[in-house]
């Protein structure tokens, strides 16, 4: 009886932590800058979090099967370049290129599984490949996002700012797909105990290919959203997404191995990371320490988690 209650609450806290972290930083931001507490303010605070959240979700699919994608940042950059060039000028070619990317990702999943390769090396290699393609496509920054994407990302619904709607929708859709459907169970199962899945007669090869393909799909969504917001592209535009996305997944309560991931947590994690950076510019620290302060804020947010965890353990 007692035990049951404990587990129920441990799980509750595990799930609630990402939301708490976000709230913590958000309160900090509102306190420093009350102006942010408005439709306009929230829009500005969060619209660049949307592509990061998408990239984080993309990374999450790979982490769910115990792998890591070190190329997601360069991949998103490449997609942005495709979006600002081919997709606008020759849409058919653009769509074909994006579909090709999905196929390449699925093939990578297959290669990694069949040859039992360390995903981190393969994707490290691929990060050069994607960057190279991006540089070939756009040797100098430029291009311009298709109008339909720009319209889409700058849509302003009444009452609730678009980025918040998008984040909620993203979290819920992926949560439903991965955590609630019967197919999601299999995909997470691969991360939990690959052997158990094989023994039940499923093809881990196919499941991994699907997960990698999903990574590509969400990477593509991230790239297109990003280019829509930025209006034009740059071969290096999203390199930082690699680290951000990994950090977002972990901040959201995911773990590197064991298939323990949380889509809602990942979205919250991505938003927390974005907000952390904003929080700092509201603080007005001396330029020397601005970079360091970013580390400090991350540490404080994470320390909060540790405290909550410890309180929970003591109970």
């Amino acid at each position: 009886m007692n035990g049951l209650r404990f587990f129920a609450s441990a799980r509750f806290w595990r799930g609630a932590l990402p939301a708490l972290s976000l709230t913590f930083v958000l309160v900090g931001v509102f306190w420093l800058q009350p102006r942010a507490m408005s439709y306009f303010g929230l829009n500005l605070l969060f619209n660049l979090a949307v592509p990061i959240a998408l990239a984080t979700i993309a990374q999450m699919f790979v982490i769910a099967v115990n792998d890591l994608d070190l190329s997601i940042g360069s991949f998103v950059s490449l997609v942005a370049c495709i979006g600002a060039t081919w997709l606008r000028d020759t849409p058919l070619l653009g769509i074909a290129a994006l579909l090709g990317c999905v196929a390449v990702y699925a093939a990578l999943g297959a290669l990694i599984y069949i040859r039992q390769l360390p995903s981190i090396v393969v994707t490290l290699g691929m990060s050069f490949v994607w960057s190279g393609c991006a540089v070939l496509l756009l040797p100098t920054p430029g291009g311009s996002a298709p109008d339909w994407i720009r319209t889409l990302v700058s849509y302003k619904p009444s009452y609730v700012p678009m980025p918040l709607l998008a984040a909620v929708a993203l979290g819920l859709v992926v949560h439903f797909g991965l955590m609630r459907t019967s197919w999601g169970v299999l995909m997470r199962g691969v991360g939990g105990n690959e052997k158990a899945i094989t023994r039940a007669g499923w093809s881990v090869l196919k499941l991994k290919m699907v997960m990698y393909a999903l990574t590509a799909v969400f990477g593509i969504l991230a790239g297109l959203t990003l280019v829509g917001l930025a209006t034009s592209a740059d071969a290096n535009i999203a390199l930082r997404y690699t680290l951000l996305s990994i950090a977002g997944v972990i901040l959201g309560g995911g773990e590197f191995v064991g298939g323990r991931i949380s889509p809602v947590g990942a979205v919250l994690g991505a938003m927390t990371l974005t907000l952390t950076a904003s929080f700092l510019s509201f603080l007005r620290i001396s330029p020397d320490w601005q970079i360091g302060a970013q580390g400090a804020v991350l540490i404080i947010v994470l320390a909060l988690r540790a405290i909550v965890n410890r309180l929970e353990a003591r109970r």
Binding site: N2, L4, F7, A10, R11, R180, T181, S182, W183, V185, L186, R188, G189, G191, G192, N193, K195, A196, I197, T198, R199, A200, G201, W202, G258, G259, R260
Partner: protein, 493 residues
């Protein structure tokens, strides 16, 4: 139940399996009839699990034929085929996904559990089955497997194997299903096996607890070194003849508890610990030379108590002398095995300090240690450089014994450590434990097997994380232990 004339449900002929240089199976012939329970016994590494893996389609036989329900299945017999033909297997090592819930793990073996409302259907299915097999199990469909104790996980996996959706089950293979269950739960399972065989489902039961085998089997097959060496009706066996057929020698059944006359060997007190939340004044004590037992139902805080001793709680200064504590895991996958290493390194890890000269570890000393223990405890492997994962489950467990007993630690903590160890070896290990104790080591021994309490000088029975009863000497009886297992300790005492 067994009609010799009816054509068998499953027939294995001349099955061979080779792993590199190891011939795990060298020509096995075996029949299983509909509605029978076939007991399968044999020493660790005899090839039981390998044979079952072939039957379940997770390993491919190197040679031989397989017929299920009249269908001849040659090469390319896969797990999917096994599933289609109604063959289910509870593997020796956990085959659940720890990150998924009980209901989700059920979905994994049932492709039809999909679409709208699958979660609810899966939950109902598994809960119904759990209620049937293990009444009062205390598991809920939404529990995450990783949060459950190992015995509950085992219950879930067993119940899952019996769930039926679109295809009827013909055969359920249970590979050491009771190794982490306490005797009460094990009995529930055995009863259920009786019940389903009555309904025409066949069961293959592998166990090192011969009592269980003799209790429920209709027929018993004995394996030795990759062959079936005997296969007869259960009634034709008794404990002694079964052990003999396995090729071990029978040991005298005398209780090996240290008698009063030897109490002189007892040394200074090493452990004195009160479980947190203990309402009365009982406390756990252990002295040099003592074997102290932890009993009670599975998962009542025994492992936690051992872990807290391991972390130094309650260890008196006299116990910390030497190299302190070592721990023999029962849940070997999670707590014991270092999977990338050889047997040698797995044994050596707890004795590294003693194998140095200067700063450097001398491999030959480690080799000596490993080989000595391989011999002493009978680890079946070509040599100690073999990877630990190439060993059978029981032999991996022996490696963990060797690791701990080979170390210099004065206090040995054992977390139901005989899971999967064969009868012959068990008896040898019991002897080793007594020997080591008489040389001054202290053993804290959590066990789910009643007979093992016979080797203990004192037994603490656990209930809800605290000690409900302390039993000594002749008070250590099955009846007293069971009674104490259900006793509620009140704070007033």
């Amino acid at each position: 139940m067994t009609t010799e004339t009816a054509s068998p449900l499953i027939s294995l002929g001349g099955i061979q399996k080779v792993f590199g240089a190891v011939q795990a199976l060298s020509g096995v012939d075996l029949q299983i009839h509909a509605g029978e329970c076939l007991g399968l016994v044999g020493h660790n590494g005899a090839g039981k699990s390998t044979l079952m893996n072939i039957l379940a389609g997770t390993l491919e036989a190197s040679e031989g034929s397989l017929t299920i329900a009249g269908t001849g299945l040659g090469k390319g017999y896969l797990v999917q085929d096994a599933g289609r033909l109604g063959v289910r297997c509870v593997f020796q090592e956990l085959s659940l996904c720890p990150n998924l819930t009980v209901a989700e793990n059920t979905r994994i073996i049932h492709p039809v559990l999909k679409g709208f409302g699958w979660r609810k259907r899966a939950g109902l299915l598994i809960m119904k089955q759990l209620d049937q097999v293990f009444p009062g199990h205390g598991v809920s469909a939404s529990d995450v497997i990783g949060d459950l104790s190992i015995s509950k996980r085992q219950m879930v996996e067993i119940a899952r194997a019996f769930t039926v959706t679109d295809t009827d089950i013909r055969l359920v293979i249970l590979d050491e299903p009771t190794s982490s269950l306490d005797s009460r739960v094990a009995d529930q399972l055995l009863n259920y096996v009786n019940q389903v065989t009555g309904q025409g489902v066949s069961v293959i039961l592998i166990s090192h607890l011969l009592g269980e085998i003799l209790q429920v089997s209709d027929r018993i097959a004995v394996m030795k070194d990759g062959r079936v060496v005997a296969c007869r009706n259960a009634a034709d066996f008794d404990r002694v003849s079964l052990v003999e057929a396995m090729g071990s020698t029978v040991v005298a059944g005398a209780a090996p508890r240290r008698g009063e006359e030897n109490s002189a060997t007892i040394g200074e007190e090493r452990i004195h610990m009160r479980p947190s939340g203990q309402p009365d004044d009982q406390s756990i004590r252990a002295q040099a030379g003592e074997v102290v037992g932890f009993a009670g139902l599975a998962g009542q805080g025994q492992t936690e108590a051992l872990l807290s001793v391991f972390e130094g709680h309650g260890v008196l200064p006299s116990g910390a002398r030497g190299a302190g504590c070592c721990f023999i895991a029962g849940d070997r996958q999670v707590d014991g095995v270092l999977p990338l290493w050889s047997i040698r390194k797995n044994i050596g890890i707890s004795s590294l300090g003693r194998m140095r000269s200067g700063m450097l570890i001398q491999s030959e000393r480690e080799l000596e240690l490993a080989e000595a223990w391989k011999e002493r405890i009978g680890i079946r492997a070509p040599d100690v450089e073999a990877p630990i994962l190439s060993l059978s489950g029981g032999n991996q467990q022996k490696v963990l014994f060797a690791r701990a007993l080979g170390s210099a630690a004065e206090i040995v903590l054992m977390d139901d450590p005989m899971r999967g160890v064969d009868v012959g070896t068990k008896n040898e290990v019991y002897t080793i434990i007594r020997q080591e104790a008489s040389q001054g080591r202290t053993f804290l021994w959590y066990t789910t097997e009643m007979e093992e309490l016979d080797y203990c000088d004192r037994v603490y029975v656990f209930r809800d994380g605290i000690v409900s009863e302390t039993l000594t000497g002749s008070d250590i009886t099955e009846e007293n232990v069971l009674q104490a297992s259900f006793k509620q300790v009140s704070g007033a005492a």
